[in-house]
């Protein structure tokens, strides 16, 4: 199971890298979204995908799942949603202001404002 999940993470990272290297801003944002999803999946996998009861200590199950990776993912997901939402708004505003979503046209040098 862990091996399969690692491969899925790898595929997500691959797709994310491909998208983030493209010129269109929207694709870059989708790429960063996929990248953080891959990272979250990786946390879950790295914590070990063992079976077991929910981590409620009073219930006397034979084994418990590790609750920590889930807590970490919950935090990381909220953060990445927030950042993605912010970046989408920023992309929209900059499309209005700069009139392009092509990264090639957003190069900045000292000579032109």
């Amino acid at each position: 199971m862990e091996v399969m999940m690692s491969i899925v993470c790898g595929i997500l990272f691959m797709a994310a890298t491909y998208l983030m290297l493209s010129k269109s801003l929207l694709r870059i944002i989708i790429g960063t979204g996929l990248l953080s999803h891959g990272a979250h999946l990786l946390i879950l996998t790295m914590g070990g995908l063992k079976g077991g009861a929910a981590p409620l200590l009073g219930e006397k199950a034979k084994s418990y799942v590790d609750p920590l990776p889930q807590a970490l993912i919950l935090t990381a997901i909220v953060i990445s949603f927030g950042v993605t939402a912010f970046m989408l708004v920023l992309a929209y505003r900059s499309y209005q202001e700069l009139g392009t979503d092509n990264m090639d046209h957003m190069r900045g040098t000292d000579s032109h404002e």
Binding site: M20, L25, I28, T32, L35, S36, G38, A39, H40, L42, I43, T45, M46, G47, G48, L68, P69, L72, T75, A76, I79, S80, G82, V83, F86, M87, L90, A91, R93, S94, E97, L98, M106, G108, D110, E113
Partner: protein
């Protein structure tokens, strides 16, 4: 033994930020509240430094869960000194903002964003757990995104997109690295990590993780191959924001590298610290090259941040008492003086309306105070003895020679001259020389005094080294001997 005082420097800006959101249409109220909360944070962090000095490392266990299971905040001397400096920069930054950021920004949550930035920076310094370090990084990054884009000029939007893209990538890499670290060690508490790694040895896998952390924090702290995003993005926002970024944000990355490389990954120094030393040398070189290449006031100061990061990390890389002490001295000095330099660069820009040095000159005729303040901060930056930069650089170089890193120590020495040249270029071309016409003589009364405060502090820091030395020594002892930190965090189980 939890001491809630540890949380105070963090709580004040947090509550301040939340409260300020409700007053976004009343700039005067916002200004007053910002100052009140900044002073409260400053007081709390001063008391924290004093308490840590008297009673040793203070920790707080959130919700009463003992480490390594719960979340802990740890205030050792290193972190507390940085928190104190952060609140000083926060206060002066807020004072400087009154005259410089403009009405439009004040109406759109400028002051709350500043307070949240301070919350994030303080939290990152104080946390004792590597995942919470990530969370506080995100808090400060989110605030910095807002501050960078606020105002919405074309240039700000363009640079913000790059800044955010780079930071999202490095945050994802941070999460990935944390996942690997958790898989290998099964813990995320820094003290516990240190114990676990010294028990089981630092395997090759852990060395890889150490380098991944170097990449993640290096991207935030702008070390050599990863500083490419910085000059553009720090140049776009107004000077008050650049000052906060330059003085605080990169230093958080530097702090994180220092913490991780003195507490956790300390068993394969020849490899990890060797790489760090060479990266520091290259950072210094490329920083000074950038600083002498440009004719733009802000760019020169920004490239000087990169140089300073190199000097600080070289002190960490040599990892002997002199090197670590020097790096702490230099870190505190650099936070203060970079704030002052950005404030003064902002004054020059607001007087002349340009940041191009070739288009200004003779400012000292009408603005003698600003001119001499700039001169003082320039020589402090280069490390001329009575001011604050000297002792730090001296100790870093001493540590470098003791560790046998002659080549890199010479690079640090040589860089001082080039840094001096780069800032003197601003002074000579901007303040001296032929007077260039300016539209009227705009008043800079309210803008100079935050810089005066910082320059005075820098002078006090340099002249009062005798007084500060015990604090720095205490901070370096903790960094040199991780068992002090571990003992304080994990003692009573």
């Amino acid at each position: 033994m939890s001491n809630n005082l540890v949380m105070m420097p963090l709580i004040f800006p947090l509550i301040g930020g939340i409260l300020l959101i409700f007053f976004n249409k009343k700039p005067i109220v916002q200004r007053i509240l910002s100052v009140i909360f900044s002073i409260a944070a400053l007081t709390a962090s001063s008391i924290l430094v004093w308490t840590v000095h008297k009673n040793g490392i203070q920790i707080v266990e959130i919700g009463g869960w003992a480490p390594p299971y719960g979340i802990t905040f740890v205030a050792d001397m290193y972190a507390s000194l940085l928190v104190l400096t952060t609140s000083i920069i926060g206060l002066t930054g807020v004072l400087y903002s009154f005259r410089t950021v403009g009405k439009a920004r004040e109406y759109f949550f400028y002051y709350p964003a500043v307070q949240f930035l301070l919350t994030g920076v303080t939290g990152a310094f104080l946390t004792g757990d590597i995942f919470n370090l990530f969370v506080f990084f995100e808090v400060l990054l989110m605030a910095s995104y807002v501050l960078m884009v606020l105002g919405g000029t074309k240039r700000q939007l363009r640079e913000s997109i790059k800044y955010i893209a780079v930071n999202i990538f490095s945050s994802a890499l941070f999460v990935i690295t944390v996942a690997f670290l958790y898989a290998v060690t099964g813990t995320l508490n820094m003290a516990d990590l240190s114990v676990k790694i010294s028990e089981n040895g630092q395997s090759g896998l852990l060395t890889v993780i150490a380098i991944l952390f170097l990449i993640v924090f290096g991207m935030k702290g702008a070390i050599f191959p990863l500083y490419f995003w910085m000059p553009g993005s720090y140049q776009a926002p107004p000077a008050a924001v650049s000052a906060l970024f330059g003085a605080l944000l990169t230093k958080v990355g530097v702090y994180a590298i220092t913490r991780v490389y003195t507490l956790i990954f300390i068993h394969d120094k020849a490899f990890t610290h060797g790489i760090l030393a060479w990266l520091a040398a290259l950072t210094i070189l490329f920083g000074v090259i950038g600083a002498i290449a440009y004719w733009d006031v802000k760019k020169i100061v920004i490239y000087n941040i990169i140089t300073a990061v190199g000097v600080i990390l070289f002190g960490v890389a040599v990892a002997n008492p002199a090197g670590i002490e020097g790096s702490i001295y230099y870190l505190l000095h650099d936070m203060i003086i970079k704030g002052a330099l950005f404030f003064l660069a902002g004054i020059m820009i607001s007087i002349t309306g340009t940041s191009n040095l070739k288009k200004m000159g003779g400012l000292i005729q009408h603005y003698p105070l600003a001119g001499w303040m700039f001169f003082l901060s320039a020589i402090a930056l280069a490390g001329i003895p009575p001011l604050s930069g000297f002792i730090g650089k001296l100790k870093v170089i001493q540590g470098g020679f003791e560790a046998g890193e002659y080549a890199i120590s010479l690079v640090v020495l040589l860089s001082s001259l080039l840094v001096l040249y780069s800032v003197m270029k601003i002074f000579i071309n901007g303040f001296w020389g032929e007077e260039k016409p300016i539209n009227g003589n705009p008043s800079v009364k309210g803008m100079v005094y935050p810089a005066v405060i910082l320059v005075a502090l820098s002078a006090a820091f340099g002249l009062g080294t005798e007084f500060i030395a015990p604090f720095i020594t205490q901070a370096s002892e903790t960094l040199l001997d991780p068992s002090i930190y571990i003992e304080a965090v994990l003692k009573e189980q």
